[in-house]
Amino acid sequence: MNLQIDTGEVVGIIGPSGAGKSTLLRCLNLLETPDAGSIQINDQKFVAPKIADRDKIKFRQETSMVFQQFNLFRQKTVLENVTEGLITVQKRSKAEAETIARTQIEAVGLTDRIDYYPQQLSGGQKQRVGIARSLAMQPNILLLDEPTSALDTELVDEVLITIQQVVETQKNLTVIIISHELSFIRDVASRIVVFDVGGIVEQGTPTEIFTTPKKERTKQFLQSYQRQALTS
């Protein structure tokens, strides 16, 4: 399989469970090392499976991941969660890091929770901190793996709105998002990739995929979704 993404694109990845979507995204952050193949960001090219630790770290600074399970540092406050990478990885001073962090926390609307610990936050708030933490690192590419699927229904919207805002304000940020929230993906993505075991099924603009899908597999997948939405 072969996937090319341009700067500033918002790519939505959809597909059935177990298709390998998460694995693809995790490869883009080198949390999973692919057995073969290469990843190229701008002019830097990394060829799997032999990637030196030093290169891995350089590479990870290009991308930034928002996790399904939030994965906040539980022993650190909201502010410390966001400054952590700035201080240890980017070697910024504490003051500088905090300034950046405050801006990002402000952007996700959590200024009043800045000294809270993750345990004191709702799921939606946690995920917004996760987004702020990722953005503070000023990555070229933001990766989101089902950022709302661990959330109760009533908390999904606050996170989706936050993501939408990020996409709208940071035009140069490349975003790759996996989500089962099809209507959201349809709204926010500039391109949609349909994924299944075996690789990419088809890709195209949201209108192409949702209204005139070419492949049988895509149709099937979209239909199974609609059925589920109706029965529950």
Binding site: Q4, D6, T7, C27, L28, D35, A36, G37, N42, D187
Partner: protein, 274 residues
């Protein structure tokens, strides 16, 4: 040069030391079993916060944890007779504690020690048992005791096994302290042997060999036991689809993110942004 180490002696010592193995094992097993029973009792007392008993047991556990085992042995072996003597003296009674074999004092001291140390592990294990299973048992109409016996203890055993195994191994080596109360375990037997030929170093090496082997055997038994007890876990669930895995292994991943627009895909403006 004098013969500093008598190497053959290290091995010829072993059969003579093994004569005292039964005593070591006797103390170990007895203390472990009674320690478990009493430890369970202490744990249940603490969990249920039974008024007076839980305070007493807290002090008891604190004392045992807080003082060396040697001191506890001393107290059980020396203090009881002295106490009796004082009683005899002031009450003109004639209790005689010498009829009680020394081993009994040792067994009691070791059991109490094990109980105190185990009680915390047992408590943690009991608390780790899934409430749901307990509720299921209760809702079937089991009595408290049945729930404990049929659900709580079997589940807790799996959790507590490794720690209890360690306690057992520790106990096996600690029985040597019983010598202050004239009970001759394997280490004491070693001291007696060395006392006649002045070859302490060789005896300690022999003991090291014996204890090491015993520990390895115990560990193997524990492993087997654990395998038995956790058979319900090992049974594999439906395996993850092998096909997917295989696909990933064979396929090549080619992803590129470019600063320039690539030819193949143009960024498409989403038609209905909110």
């Amino acid at each position: 040069m004098p013969k500093l180490i008598d190497f053959p002696l290290i091995f010829t010592n072993i059969p003579r030391l093994l004569k005292a193995l039964p005593v070591t094992l006797e103390i170990t097993f007895f203390a472990m079993i009674f320690g478990l029973i009493l430890g369970l009792l202490l744990a249940v007392i603490k969990i249920n916060k039974i008024p007076v008993l839980s305070q007493i047991s807290a002090v008891f556990v604190s004392f045992i944890r807080g003082t060396p085992l040697l001191v506890q042995l001393y107290i059980s072996y020396y203090a009881v007779p002295i106490l009796l003597k004082y009683i005899n003296y002031y009450n003109h009674t004639n209790f005689n504690v010498n009829a009680v074999p020394a081993l009994l004092f040792v067994l009691i001291a070791f059991s109490l020690n094990e109980a105190a140390y185990n009680s915390e592990n047992i408590r943690a294990a009991l608390l780790s048992v899934d409430r749901g299973e307990i509720e299921a048992a209760q809702s079937l109409g089991m009595t408290k005791w049945q729930v404990l016996k049929r659900v709580t203890i079997p589940n807790a055993t799996v959790v507590a096994l490794p720690t209890l195994g360690n306690a057992f191994i520790g106990l096996m080596k600690n029985t040597s302290l019983a010598f202050v109360a004239s009970v001759v375990d394997m280490t004491a037997q070693g001291q007696i042997l060395a006392g006649s030929n002045y070859r302490y170093f060789e005896v300690y090496l022999s003991l090291a060999i014996i204890y090491w082997i015993m520990t390895i055997i115990t560990e193997q038994i524990l492993k087997l036991l654990e395998k038995r007890l956790t058979i319900f876990q090992k049974a594999t669930q439906v395996a993850a689809p092998a096909s997917t895995r295989r696909f990933w292994q064979r396929s090549r991943l080619e992803v590129a993110v470019h600063d320039q627009h690539s030819t193949s895909h143009e960024a498409v403006q989403s038609p209905n942004r909110i």
